[in-house]
Amino acid sequence: MLDALIQGLLLGGLYALFALGLSLMFGVMRLTNTAQGDFIVLAGFVVIALAPLVARSTIVATLLTLPLAFGAGYALQRWVLNGTLGRDPLPSLVVTFGLSIVIQNALLEIFSADPRSLDSGGFSTRSLGLGGGLAVGALPLAIFALAALITAALQMLFDRTALGRAFRAVSDDREIAELMGLDARKVYALATAVAFVVIALGGALQAMRTTVAPSDGPLLLLFAFEAVIIGGMGSFWGTFTGAMVLGLAQQIGFRLDPGWGIWVGHLVFLAVLVLRPQGLWPRTRG
């Protein structure tokens, strides 16, 4: 069981990377990105496509994808998604759903339906002994550490920087923020740009840890969404711990029965939704 707990936490690290971008976009502009999972898959495929061009270096290909993701996120928000924002949440849901379909079909067309993965140079097969017969994979441990670091960085960005202040101000009251001189459209675009960098990392690491296929997007969205809801809206550490809870639930379910993993995760999600709909650690600052 201890092994299941450890593996669950490590899996939660990957889910945190899936969920943090969603949490950020919803937190700043109340936008639910239903294409979140598909953008994660797209990022994975971009790294897969770039890797042969940079001497098959996965790390270099991943690093190159990050500024591309930043620019793509900025452009998408600035010139597409900003037009969907308003009191009615439906336009943004419909547009991002449309994007989801476009991305899946484009990837299918370009890469076929076959799952692909990234070569991590043997890193994915290395492990670290914890004693007592327990060992953890080096890659899942690195993903967990990266997820914790990014969560801390995002929280610090929001709490300690002028940009973070701008994010919180436009989220609180866009009209008054604009009265202070902020251009809300640019602030939203920056938020999505940052979210897309995290999405890109999630996609690359998913492709390293397992595989990515064009049809994977909706399932990854579900995991991201469940992690955000379990953890509670408006808190990055809440999202991180929500991801941990989801990862733990799935691993425990898997240990009970190999076919129960994802299903137990859904059950925990539903239980939180019924018993504590605001999430386990709702909106906090710092």
């Binding site: 002028a162 701008a166 009251d173 008054i176 604009e178 009265l179 202070m180 001189g181 902020l182 251009d183």
Partner: protein, 236 residues
Amino acid sequence: MSAADALIETRGLTAHYGDAQALFGIDFRLRAGEVVAIIGANGAGKSTFLKALTGLVKCARDAVRFKGHPIGASAPGAIVRQGLAMVPEGRRLFPSLSVEENLLMGAFARRSGPWSLKRLFTLFPILEQKRRSPATALSGGQQQMVAIGRALMGNPDVLLCDELSLGLAPIVIKEIYDAVPALTREGMSLVIVEQDVSVAQRVSQRVVCFQEGRVSLEGASDELTREQISRAYFGV
């Protein structure tokens, strides 16, 4: 006052909320260093007028001029960078920001001038004590000080104040308005929307009365009588 002297000038300003017209051809001028009070009943168009000046409500480009430049169709951010700031009705502080963070948001436009955090804390010492507190945890009067301070951090040439006394006790209202001389001493001009007529006359040099989206009376604060104001206020 000639057009050349006016810091703010509106000519035939009209404004709408959807199909409903809220302002019907407002002519208004504000001179440098002047304090003008706008009074009127609820729904008279006072707040709409301030929103039109700050770009929150759109109007014709040439209907509003600030320092001689047309700003009617400008975005709020562009207007605040030119030196026109507003203390909105109901304070509208950012609830997820502390007192200090709310004040710092006012400096986003990066206009240089005499107002800084240090100077604000001299004007409103309680804010220094509460600088790390969530802004919305303060009393109504203290929140109003934060809202004023936030606008001052933009070092505006003109400050628009919308119903500063709303929901505040008389002693707190006095404390807030006692700060006005400190603002005008530096040459700042003020437009104050105020429901309390006696307060409006006390703090301003000129009073403008709005009634159903139109100017119904205008004159020197110390010359207008109660009867004149009452007739213009209620349209009788």
